[in-house]
């Protein structure tokens, strides 16, 4: 088999500069072994398809141009068929398909989702409409963003707490559905550090479009730092600070019914917020994690995310309360 060629015509035609940074969810720029295996296969299939396309469309075009009616043309010979031709154009596509099928089956088994026993285990749970990540061996529960170490095998076990979702970070590989009552597995080893975007890829209700995800591939030391920070209890807010005020608001509000902050509350309906301040995004990956968005989100989540069950508080929080909460949440690093 010749070395697979990159899909440069696609890139060129639509000025995909670098096939990467400008297209954060591109399937054409893999950064893991899982992704590369798929990409190699797709490239092969693409070139076979391009060949068949060129040949067959050309034949069609030639037929309609060359045999267009011209005055005085003799009546066409009434051919009914040609057995040899029929055999030929049955066998030729079948042979091409064998060239597609063999690498396909090989890749299926390579990407079947089993990782070596020393792989980092991550459990992914899909909820309407956010992603929960649990690291059972590290004792970490978080949401919205997954961190994995560069170059180390990762075993992802995917399920759902409610309806069917699909976990998909295109640059790291293909998608697998998150199905309640089932566990699907992906195994991959990322080969470059960075931030990889993805989103739910199975229609799951009102805010399916808003169920976004990010996977951070951290170099060894950076990953260790992240693990250490995630496992640590959150530092208590400084006395008299806005953050301390915010913790008081948090503890007396309905927030505690849905969210867990280690040492303060134990709700399991919404994302774990123990280290929410350390995250890049909030609201299931919808918004950047900054004061403005946090405030808007707390004030009226359903207005921003249709169907969200994080309904407005009754009675509504005051602006001062919200500002305090924001300060508190940002302190939860």
């Amino acid at each position: 088999m010749p070395r697979p060629r990159r899909l440069w015509p696609l890139c060129a035609v639509f000025f995909l500069a670098g096939c990467g940074g400008r297209f954060p969810q591109s399937t054409l720029a893999p950064h893991s072994d899982f992704g590369r295996a798929i990409d190699r296969l797709f490239t092969d299939i693409f070139w076979w398809a391009a060949l068949v396309f060129a040949v067959v469309e050309t034949l069609l075009l030639v037929a309609i141009v060359r045999f267009r009616h011209r005055p005085g043309r003799a009546a066409p010979r009434p051919t009914h068929g040609h057995t040899l031709l029929e055999i030929a154009w049955t066998i030729a596509p079948a042979v091409i398909l064998v060239f597609v099928a063999v690498p396909t089956v090989r890749t299926i088994f390579v990407t079947a989702g089993t990782a070596p026993p020393d792989a980092l285990k991550v459990e992914v749970v899909g909820h309407q409409w956010w992603w929960e990540y649990r690291y059972p061996e590290l004792g970490i529960v978080t949401a919205d963003e997954m961190h994995v170490p560069l170059g180390r095998p990762v075993q992802v076990a995917i399920t759902s707490a409610d309806v069917i979702h699909s976990f998909w970070a295109p640059m790291l590989g293909g998608k697998r559905d998150a199905i309640p009552g089932h566990v699907n597995r992906i195994a991959f080893r990322a080969d470059s550090a960075g931030e990889y975007w993805g989103q739910c890829a199975e229609f799951c209700g009102a805010s399916h479009a808003n169920m976004r995800l990010r996977v951070f591939v951290d170099s060894g030391p950076a990953f260790e730092t992240w693990v250490r920070d995630q496992r640590a209890a959150p530092a208590p807010p400084a006395p008299g600070s806005a953050a301390e005020q915010g913790r008081t608001v948090f503890a007396r509000s309905a927030c505690i019914g849905c969210h867990t902050v280690q040492g303060v509350s134990a709700g399991v309906i919404g994302p774990n917020l123990t280290h929410v301040g350390s995250r890049r995004t909030i609201a299931g990956g919808m918004f950047p994690n900054d004061s403005a968005h946090l405030a808007q989100w707390i004030a009226d989540a359903p207005a921003l995310k249709p169907g969200s069950i994080m309904t407005r508080m009754k009675p509504p929080l005051t602006d001062a309360d919200i500002a305090a909460l924001v300060a508190y949440l940002q302190s939860l690093q």
């Binding site: 696609l10 400008r22 297209f23 969810q25 591109s26 399937t27 054409l28 797709f42 398809a49 068949v52 396309f53 067959v56 469309e57 034949l59 069609l60 037929a63 309609i64 045999f67 267009r68 009616h69 043309r73 009546a75 066409p76 010979r77 009434p78 051919t79 009914h80 068929g81 029929e86 049955t90 596509p93 398909l97 597609v100 099928a101 396909t104 089956v105 890749t107 299926i108 088994f109 990407t111 309806v163 069917i164 998909w168 293909g174 559905d177 199905i179 309640p180 009552g181 089932h182 699907n184 975007w197 989103q199 890829a201 199975e202 229609f203 009102a206 399916h208 479009a209 249709p306 169907g307």
Partner: protein, 614 residues
């Protein structure tokens, strides 16, 4: 029918008059026209839904429609196009053309035929009523249309996650429509097998009638499976069972298996009739017989059978395991072979011909050109690992629309331009027809080709908006422009229809030089079709072949009076029972179930004991 009566009554019975005669008609030609206009209207409705979708997606973070409305739009676009537009448009040709092609006076069961149409109309109205009846369900909005996709995956469709009436409309509406298709399936199987003119052996049957036959077998075997799936969902939603719920040991995957066991044959139901049309149009305008008729027919039959073995290729991301994935990947690749064989035979039909570029021919060639693209993207889907990147993205949306729009719809338009003179007695304007073709051809490629890239760049499907950072904004805008170009093309078609309705050139029996029986009778045909049922001696009875002279057309006037049934009101009455029955669970009103059943039974009894002579 005595000889004395020959002088007493006119040889040709007068055509029925008045709009009420349409309510009681059992004439396959009138039923074909009813199907056509109703289906085309639903096609436009589905098209408007598509335009709203494209407007919303023209820019990232669009605000044209709300998320809830968007989810209803894409659900209804898919459901409408599949069940209310494409299938019934094909059915309009099954109805009008197949009896003519086989030399019959009507279908085997004319009242059952009428019943099928009325049930289709009522089912379509029932489903679409959901756009307007929100207030009746205290919904706080007008539209409570189905909103979980045309494929309605459990367990999103369960009462817990879809509490409103939306999914109830979907489940009940589809059950009603299923009855329509099943009834028509039985009717056409018997018609094609049993009512052929003398000498019309199966291997002399026109390809369109052959593909219709295969399609009907697919319908009567596939629809029961989705019926069962929908029954389970209905029981989960109304009676508290747990067929699709993991808490009780069930699995939502059961729905997917049942749905796709139906769903995959369904896509062949959608494409085979159009392939049949192309197989008729090409020979007529290339003035050459279809190349490899026997192979084309057997390929169609093979596709029908093999279509049952590929369903889990819609489930490659579900985690069925590497063995199942490999098997279904292999069977899916295998089915590409008979499909490709047909394409080669069509090209060989054109090759060496004397091609007259009529509008119908444009659409037939357009079908081949676009179906090649759709078929090739389909082959890339057949590889499960590759599909893990493609499934549930706009890449699949591209594939679907290349085969269904580039394929089926172009094929159906080829049929429309081809058989319009036969069905209406007027010729459509050829120049406008070519404008329609080119505008639509450019439009469909602008609309759907970018979707390959949009999907590969990571945009999933069924999302009401997308982030600008994805880099697919421009491509989405281009796609939206293409969609509006398609709309413009359809306007051209409607103008063509309106203009030629009264003042179009009158069509002779045979405007195109066709080979098959429908061209041997007037346009439109008299109510009895053939004054004398012809005896058929070849596959192309109206053409001179090496072995046969062209057949003589039937005489203009029948030698003896021909009895034609007067019609019946009972199919409509019985059909009315079904939506009444469906209203019972929808509105939680038990007596409506008894009322609906009573109307249905009453209609059936009167139908069964009515003196009706075919």
């Amino acid at each position: 029918m005595t000889h004395a009566a020959v002088h007493a009554q006119p040889a040709a019975p007068p055509a029925p008059r008045g709009w009420t005669s349409w309510l009681t008609t059992t004439d396959h030609k009138r039923i074909g026209l009813l199907y056509f206009w109703t289906a085309f209207a639903f096609f436009l409705v589905g098209g408007v839904e598509a335009l709203l979708i494209r407007l919303q997606l023209a820019q990232p973070n669009g605000h044209v429609v709300s998320a809830e409305t968007y989810n209803q739009l894409f659900t209804m676009h898919g459901t409408t196009m599949v069940f209310l537009a494409l299938m019934p448009l094909s059915a309009s040709f099954f109805n009008y053309i197949v009896p003519l092609q086989i030399g019959a006076r009507d279908v085997a069961f004319p009242r059952l035929n009428a019943f099928s149409y009325w049930v289709f109309l009522l089912g379509g109205l029932f489903l679409n009523a959901s756009w307007l009846v929100g207030p009746l369900f205290h919904a706080g909005r007008w539209n409570v249309a189905p909103d979980a996709g045309w494929f309605g995956y459990a367990n999103l469709t369960e009462r817990q996650f879809s509490p409103g009436p939306n999914i109830d409309f979907w489940v009940l509406g589809l059950q009603i429509l299923g009855i329509s298709s099943l009834a028509a399936g039985f009717n056409f199987i018997v018609t094609i097998l049993n009512l052929r003119a003398p000498g019309l052996k199966m291997m002399r049957l026109p390809t369109f009638s052959w593909m219709t036959l295969v399609t009907q077998f697919l319908i009567i075997t596939a629809f029961p499976v989705i019926t069962v799936g929908l029954v389970f969902l209905m029981f989960d939603r109304f009676f508290g069972t747990h067929f699709y719920l993991p808490q009780a040991g069930g699995t939502p995957i059961l729905w997917q298996h049942l749905f796709w066991l139906f769903g995959h044959p369904e896509v062949y139901i959608l494409i085979l009739p159009a392939m049949g049309i192309v197989s008729e149009v090409l020979p007529t305008f290339a003035r050459k017989p279809l190349f490899g008729y026997v192979v084309v027919v057997y390929s169609g039959i093979l596709i029908g059978f093999m279509g049952w073995g590929v369903w889990s290729h819609h489930m490659f991301s579900v985690g069925l395991g590497p063995v199942a994935d490999s098997v279904f990947g292999a069977t899916t690749m295998l089915i590409a072979v008979p499909t490709g064989v047909k394409i080669f035979n069509w090209i060989a039909t054109l090759w060496g011909g004397d091609i007259r570029p009529t509008a119908a021919l444009h659409f037939a060639v357009g079908f081949i050109a676009m179906f090649i693209i759709g078929g090739l993207s389909g082959v890339s889907h057949a590889s499960p690992p590759a599909d893990l990147q493609q499934t549930d993205t706009y890449y699949v949306v591209a594939h679907i629309h290349y085969v269904l729009f580039g394929g089926t719809i172009q094929g159906l338009f080829a049929g429309i331009y081809y058989w319009w003179p036969k069905m209406t007695g007027r010729l459509l304007d050829e120049r406008l027809g070519k404008w329609h073709f080119w505008l639509q051809f450019v439009g469909l490629n602008l609309a759907f080709f970018p979707m390959h890239f949009i999907g590969l760049l990571g945009m999933p499907r069924r999302i009401y908006t997308y982030a600008p950072e994805l880099g697919v904004s421009t491509l989405n805008l281009v796609s939206t422009v293409g969609a509006f170009l398609i709309a413009a093309a359809l306007l051209v078609f409607l103008v063509n229809v309106a203009r030629t309705r009264r003042s179009g050139a009158r069509a002779p029996n045979d405007p195109w030089g066709g080979a098959t029986l429908e061209w041997s009778i007037p346009s439109p045909p008299p109510v009895y079709n053939f004054s004398v049922i012809p005896t058929v001696e070849s596959r192309m009875p109206r053409w001179r072949t090496e072995h046969h002279a062209p057949m003589a057309d039937p005489p203009a006037v029948p030698p003896a009076p021909i009895h034609v049934p007067a019609g019946s009101r009972w199919p409509l009455v019985a059909a009315l029972g079904l939506p009444i029955l469906a209203l019972a669970p929808l509105t939680h009103t038990l007596w409506l179930a008894f009322a609906g059943a009573a109307v249905l039974l009453f209609g059936i009894y009167r139908w069964a004991f009515e003196p009706f002579e075919v």
